[in-house]
Amino acid sequence: MPKRTDIKSILVIGSGPIVIGQAAEFDYAGTQACLALKEEGYRVILVNSNPATIMTDTEIADAVYIEPITLEFVRRIIQKERPDAILPTLGGQTGLNMAVELAGAGVLDEYNVEVLGTKLSAIEQAEDRDLFRTLMNDLNEPVPDSEIIHTLEEAYSFVEQIGYPVIVRPAYTLGGTGGGICDNEEELIETVTNGLKQSPVTQCLLEKSIAGLKEIEYEVMRDSNDNAIVVCNMENIDPVGVHTGDSIVVAPSQTLTDREYQMLRNTSLKIIRALGIEGGCNVQLALDPYSFQYYIIEVNPRVSRSSALASKATGYPIAKLAAKIAVGLTLDEMLNPVTGKTYACFEPALDYIVSKIPRWPFDKFEHANRTLGTQMKATGEVMAIGRTFEESILKAVRSLESGVYHLSLDELADKDDAFLEKRIRKAGDERLFYLGEALRRGVTIETIHDWSQIDLFFLKKFENIVKYEKEVENNPFDKETAKKAKQLGFADKTLAKSWGVVEKEVYDWRKENGIVPVFKTVDTCAAEFESETPYYYGTYEDENESIVTGRKSVVVLGSGPIRIGQGVEFDYATVHSVWALKEAGYEAIIVNNNPETVSTDFSISDKLYFEPLTIEDVMHIIDLEKPEGVIVQFGGQTAINLADKLVEHGVKILGTSLEDVDRAENRDKFEQALQELNVPQPLGRTAFSVETAVDIANSIGYPVLVRPSYVLGGRAMEIVYKEAELLQYMKNAVKVNPEHPVLVDRYLTGKEIEVDAISDGTDVVIPGIMEHIERAGVHSGDSIAVYPPQKLTDDQKAKIIEYTTKLAKGLNIIGLLNIQYVISKGEVFVIEVNPRSSRTVPFLSKITNVPMANIATKAIMGQSLKEMGYESGLIPEKKGVYVKVPVFSFAKLRRVDTTLGPEMKSTGEVMGKDSTVEKALYKGLVASGMKIPTKGAVLLTVADKDKDEALVIAKRFHNIGFQLLATYGTANLIRETGVPVQTVAKIGAKGPDMLDVIRGGEAQFIINTLTKGKQPARDGFRIRRESVENGIPCLTSLDTATAILEVLESMIFNAEAMPKPALEAIYS
C-alpha cells in the first residue's frame, strides 16, 4: 500500500532522560524513525526532554522541542504545531504513556490528532494486565495463573489459593519498576505495597511463579496489510525469573528444535495479529524445558530495548521500518536496506551467534542489592558477535569494561564452595564468573544446572572454555593451541596471564604467526544475497570480507556500554565526529560494542566494526585498515584509556597527544603545568601510601577531597573531614599503591563552574560557561547546571576565559576539553581538566548552535577554527536560560544511598529552557520527573553544620504557605526564630515517626543533609530511601532546596501578614 498522503505533519514523542530500563536504544529508534518519516516527505515535530541525544539535533526533525514530556507541555506543543498525527510507539514506555495520557485528557480528539501505527486500544490491551489476560484466554494462549490486585488484601487472598512464590508486576511501569518475586509474607507486603505505589493506575499483577523455565523472546513486525514476520528470536541464558534486561541473552535461540521454534513463532504472530500491531512488537515467552508447554509472559506493543538488540544482531532496522509502516507502507513494498535488492518482508538468517551481557552500576553502588529479579537494574549492555558461542560470549565479557576478560574473577579464588553455590542459585550480576569458578573447581554441569536451571547446552559451552584453560597453560606459544583458543574467544590478556608474559608479547607473536582474525559481514541473509552493508565483526576463520578501500580513513573509538558517568552524550559526540570526518572527505570507521546506540547503526559510518573496545580487538582493525590515525577523545574514558596502548603499538592518536592527555590527567604533571601557566588550583598532592595521604591532609588542612587518579564519574571520590575518616577511606575504598595513587586535595566550598572549549592549537573557542546550582563537592554530573551563568561577575568570567584559553594552549589541546572551576571567596581555581569530550557537549551544542564535536573533529584533522569561521574567546551568550537537571534511577536500586556527593549517581539528564531561571528550572525539574506541588509541607532534618542555612530556607517555605515538619533539634531551632513548626518523632520513637510521615504522604518535599561522619547516618539513609520509595523529592543539598524554593516563590504569591505597627520599629 502506498504511503498516506492525507497527513502532512507528525509528532514523535521521545523517551526522555536515560534511566534504568530506558537507555540509548530509544535515541537510536527515535533517530531512525524521524529520519525515515522525513525521507517520506512528512514534517516531523519531535519532543524529547533529553538534550544528550542525536534525535534532538535540529537536522533530525523539522521542529525539535526539548521540553518536558508531560501533559502540560506536550499539549502546548500540539496547540502550537497542530500536527495531523502522533507516533507514540518509538519513545519507549515514556512515549507510550504520554500518548495514552494525551488521549485520556481529550487532547488528541480536541486537536484532531490521529495516532499512527499501533492503535491506543491495542496498546492498552497489551499493557493492561486484565485486558491482556482476557485476550490470551480468548486466543486460547496460556498465561500463568494470575490475579489483578489493587490492594494488599487482594494479594493475600491470591496467595492463599496459589501459594508462594509469586511474581508481582506493577501495571504501566518501566523495566519492571516496583516488581519482584516474593517467597514469603514479608516480601509480599513490601513488594506489593511498593508496586501499587509505582503503578500509575495502582494496579499489580500477581502471578504464579514460572521461574526456571526457558525464557524466549520474539521480535516481530506487522503491517496494515497483515503481513507479519519475525525479525529475530532470542534465548535468555538466565531462565525465567531474571528480567530480560538483566539477563544474558543469545540470538538466535540455541536449544529450540524447529518444532518449538515454529510453535512459539506461530503464537507470537497470532498475538500481534489479534492485537492489530502496526509496527514492531516484542513477545516474551516461557517454555518448559521438559515439554511443549509454554506461557506468554508479556507483550511490548512498541519498539523496545530488545528490538534495538535484534536490529543490531541481525542488521534489520526495525525502528526505521516500523515508522514507515506507521504511515501506511507495507513490508512487501519496502526494500531491505541491508541488501538493497531483496524486500523487507522476510526473516533474517544469521550465520553467527550474538551474545548480550547487561552492564550493571554496582561498581558505583557497592551497597546496592546485587541480586537480579524481575526489576531491571542494568544501565546498559554490550553485544558481541562470533562464529562460535564461546567466542561470542567471551568477546561480550571483555566488552564490559569491568576489569574482566574471561570467565573468572580474581577475588573468587578464596571464596568457599558453599558461597559459590549460593551465588549461582540466586542470580546476581557476577553469576557468569561464579559459574566459571565452580566449573574450574570441578563442579559438574548437571549440579550447576540443578542450582541455576541454566540449560546444559550453555553450561557445557562454559565448561569448554574452562577446560581449554588447561590446554592453553600446558602449551605456551603453541600455534594450534593458540588458534583454537582464539576461536574459543580467549583474550590475549588471558593467554598472557596463563603464559606469564605481557599482553603485547602474545599479540606480536600471534601476528608473526598469522593467527589473526578475519572480518565477516552482518548481512541479514547468511550470505545468500550480495550486500554492500559495511557492518563487520571479527572471527578466526579463513575468508576476510572487509575490503580496504584505499581512501584516507580515520578510526573513531566509541564509548561502549551506557553506565553511570558515561552515558548517551558520548555516543552523541562519537556520531558527530563520524559525520564531520565524512564531511571532511575521510572514510570514517567506527568501533563500538553497544547495541543500543546510534553510532552502531551501520548507516552512520563508512564502516562499522562491532567489536570489543580492547587493545587487541581495536589493533586487529587498525592492522587491516591502516588508518591515518585514531580519534579517542569522543568515546569517553573508554577510548582515552586505550590511548597509551595504541601508542605503544605505534598507532597515531589524532588530536591532543598522549603526553598532553597525561599532563592533564596525571596529577603531578598537571600541577606542574598549572604552575607554569600560572593558573591556581586548590592545594593538593598525590599520595602513594596511606602515610603520605595523612601527611598531605595535615599539611593542607581538612576537609580534603580524596579520590583515586584516572577515574570516571568520580568513582570512589569522597570528602573527608578528619583523619579517622581519611584512614577509613584509605582502608576501605581504595587500594593505594605506587601504580594506583590517591589524590588528596583541599576541599574548597564555593560555586562550581564548568566550561567546554575547542582548540586548534592557535585559537580557543569557548561555546559557553555553565554555573552549577550545587556547590562544589557534588559531582558535576549530578549538579543542576545553568547557562548562561547567573551569578558570575564580569571579572570572574574574564578570568575563566583567560584560564581556559591558557590551559587549552598550554596543554596543547587539539580538539575538545572540559574544565571545572570552583569560585571560592571570589577567586577562581581550576579543579580539573578533561582533555576530551564531556557530558555537557550536546547540551552546550544545542544551546549555542556551535556543533562542538563537528568542529573539534575538523580541528583534529587540521582545519583551523578561523577557517571554519570561529574566533577565540567566549561565543556571545544566547538569550534565555537553559538548565541541565540530572535524573536518577534510585527507585530501581534498593539500598543505594541517594545523598549527592563527589561520586556520580545520576543515570541521565534533561534540559529545561525558558526566559527566566525559575521557569527553566521548573521545566527541568518537572522533566526530570519531580512533582512540584505548590502547597503542603516540608520535612527538614539537617546536619548541625547546615542549621543556619536551613533556617533561612525554612522561613522562606513558611512564607509561601508551606507547613514545616522537623525532628526535635531542628524543630526547636526553627521555633526559636518565631516560625511555627511541627515536631516529628525520630525513627523508632513512640507514635508516628518520620517514616510514617513520609509513607503517609504528609510531606511534599524532604530536606535531608548528611550528618558529619558516615556512621550515625543510618536514620538519614532510611529517610532518604523511604522518600525514594514513596516518590517524594528528597533534597540532600541545600542549594537544590534553595533553587526549588525560588521556583516555588515565583509561582506562589507571598502570604505574609501585615506587620503590626510598633512605634519603636517605625522610629528605630
Binding site: 496489510n225 497483515d226 503481513n227 514476520i229 519475525v230 538466535p252 535461540s253 540455541q254 536449544t255 529450540l256 528444535t257 524447529d258 518444532r259 521454534y261 515454529q262 513463532r265 506461530n266 504472530l269 524445558p289 521438559y290 515439554s291 513490508l331 512487501d332 535488492k341 531483496t342 524486500y343 518482508c345 522476510f346 526473516e347 533474517p348 538468517a349 544469521l350 550465520d351 553467527y352 551467534i353 562464529r387 562460535t388 558461542f389 540449560d455 546444559l456 547446552f457 557445557k460 565477516k520 541473509c525 547468511a526 550470505a527 545468500e528 544475497f529 550480495e530 576463520e541 579463513d542 575468508e543 570480507e545
Partner: protein, 363 residues
Amino acid sequence: MKKQLILEDGTVFVGKGFGSAKDVTGEVVFTTGMTGYQETLSDPSYCGQIITFTYPLIGNYGINRDDFETIQPAVKALVVKEAADFPSNFRSEFSIDEYLKMKDIPAISGVDTRKLTRIIRQHGALKGAIVSADVNPEDVIHRLQATVLPNDQVAQVSTKSAYPSPGRGFRVVLIDFGMKHGILRELNNRNCDVVVVPHDTTAEEIMQFKPDGIMLTNGPGNPKDVPYAIETIKELIGQVPLFGICLGHQLFALASGADTFKLKFGHRGSNHPVKDLETGRTAITSQNHGFSVSEESIANTDLKITHVALNDGTVEGLAHKTYPAFTVQYHPEASPGPEDDNILFDRFIDLMKKNAAKETQHA
C-alpha cells in the same frame, strides 16, 4: 580425524570429519535455516547433495525420535562450522554424530561455511567431495570435473511399492517422488485416506484407487529427469483435484506445457517471502529447490501464476485455469520452517469437497 572438502573449482577446505568415515561426491548446496537440521537432513529432496548449513552451530538440540521427514535420509553429506557434541533438549536421543554414524552419512566440521556459501552464491551450486586428509586434492579436482552426477534420484528415494495411510475422509493418491513425511502428516491430520504410490505408477493404476484427489510430492533433482511422471500427470489433470508441492509443482508445470530451468544456487531455507497474488499477502515459507518454473513459458498454457517469490520474482505457485488443480514451489507442510501457508492443505480439501459435490450433482 582430518577431512577435506574439495570443490570442482579447486577450493579446498580442511576440517574435522564426523559421522560416517566414507568418502562421498555430490552437488554442494547451502541452506540458511537456523533451526530444523533434523528435518533438513532427512528431506529426500536433498538426495545426492552435500548440504552446507550456513548457521554455524548444528546439533545443539540433538536428534529426536519424532522430527524425521523420511526413515532413510538420502543426503550425501553435511558441511558445518561446528557440530555440537553435547546436545540439549528433552526429546534428544542421539547426538548428530551418533546419528550420522548409524545412517552411514559422512560430515565435516570446522569449515568456514560462510566462505563456502559465498563461493556457491557466486559460482552456482557445484560438485564437491568429502575425502580423507591424505588424498591429493589435485586428483579429486580432476575427478570432480569429469564426474557426471546421477540423475535417478527420484527412483532412489520413492517408495518401491504402494501402501495405505488410512483415514476416514477423502481418498488421496499421493505420488511419492521423494515425499517428506510432513505432507502425509498434514493430509492425515485432515482425515484423508491416503494411498502412497511409487513415482512410476501409471495414471490408469492411480485412477483405479478411485481417488478424490491427487497429491504430487516434493522430490530431488531435475523434473525433466522423470519424463514418465510428466506423462502420467498430463493424463491426470482434469480428472480429480490435484495439489502439487515443489518437484510436484514443476512436474505439473511441465505436464501443462510450461518449462523449467535450473536456478544458479537455488532457494533453500526457512525465510523465503512468497506473495499470494490474489490476497496480496506475503507469507514466509520454507523452501528447498534448485529448479524453477520459467515465467515466460506460462503464457501459452492453461496455467496462471498465483504466487511469486518476493525477492527474485520467480514462479512460486500455479493454478489451472479450468480444472481444480494448483501447485506451489515452496513447502506449506513446513517442517522445517514457518507454517504460514499451512492453509493450502485446507484449500485442497475444499477443492475435493466441491468436486465431490459436483460429481454428486452430475450423478
